[in-house]
Amino acid sequence: MHSTIVRGQNVFGFFTSVCFFVAALIAASDLLAPRTPKATVSVKDVQVVRGRPHYYSTKKEEYAVIRFSLSADLSSLFTWNTKQVFVYVSASWPNSTLGEDGKGELVNEAVIWDSIITNPSADHLQNIGPAAMKKLVKSSKGKKIDPSRGKLELKNQKAKYQITSPTGKLAETDNVVLKVHYNVQPWVGVLTWTPQIEFGMWKKVKGGVSKVFKFPALKAKKEAEKKKA
């Protein structure tokens, strides 16, 4: 009854219960923080070029090269339980076979740009070079939470990923649209994505969808050669 083992077990049991209770409280506190993100995204330039998936491939595919501008205010997503916010911009387009009625369902989606924004409390976990790390830590010195990192201002940004489709065809696709999404990674608790419905104090993203545009026809070969020269 009062052996050392039993006492040890009791202490350990109580310790884990307290840990889980505190973790649950922290996770639940997310619901009390209002989320009011805003975003404006617009396409600046689209080209479709032919290329190979990798150097040794003989397959030629069409790639969409997109430039866009993004202005976003995600500062309300940064709370004491925020580890990082993953922001991404995706392009969606319907299948060519579906769009008989003018506008098909957006069945294809591909991320063209993403970024990891850490809360200062998670800076040390970033996989970046020492110089960049120094700059990052200095940017919000003395702060554990830095909502100002949620303000993004990208002008004429080049996409990080050149997208294609499984068929290798992409040129002359209509009804393409860019969307801004986010994913909040907590220190403990539930992961959240851009909400589809308003939920308590969490509002939907204001804006965050670009105007409809199209992937143009392939650039003429001559033009591409001229550019190279």
């Binding site: 009854m1 052996s3 083992i5 039993v6 973790a23 580890k83 990082q84 993953f86 991404y88 995706s90 299948n95 369902e105 069945v107 294809n108 989606e109 591909a110 991320v111 993403d114 990891i116 850490t118 998670a122 976990l125 970033q126 996989n127 990923y161 997208i163 489709s165 499984p166 999404h181 994913n183 990674q185 907590p186 220190w187 403990v188 608790g189 539930v190 992961l191 994505w193 851009t194 589809q196």
Partner: protein, 172 residues
Amino acid sequence: MLSALQNPRQAAAQLLNFGLILSTAFMMWKGLSVISDSPSPIVVVLSGSMEPAFQRGDLLFLWNRNLMEETKVGEIVVYNVKGKDIPIVHRLVRKFGVGEQAKLLTKGDNNLADDTELYAKGQDYIERQDIIGSVVAYIPFVGYVTILLSEHPWLKTVMLGLMGLVVVLQRE
């Protein structure tokens, strides 16, 4: 000392107690599996490819039902590749088509390239059936003990020995 061994009735009761604990844990695991429709509803992160979101040893809770909508781009999914037995936790970055046949591409946040290289030979995309769940909740570090156990097998022997000793020596 070792009074339990002299009293067979007590020894049997302790054995039953031990079995009860094991079966309760097993039932909870399988129950969670049924609720989430995932063969493995809780997984431990084994690699650093999703850093800084997930570190090695973090515990992830999975959900494998599409109640409201389909699995979509941006979700972090756990998937199996044919011929490899270790499931991978990565983010969905491309989706072509809808339904079971949709072609999906994944990428680790901390990796420069997408996962085409990780898939089976000749496989360019994964499908919905390869996914065993999407990450919905997160507890840091708790699963690290399983990494320790698999990397240092002698710890297993030590732990089993200690547990057996406690069971035998316990009087209650």
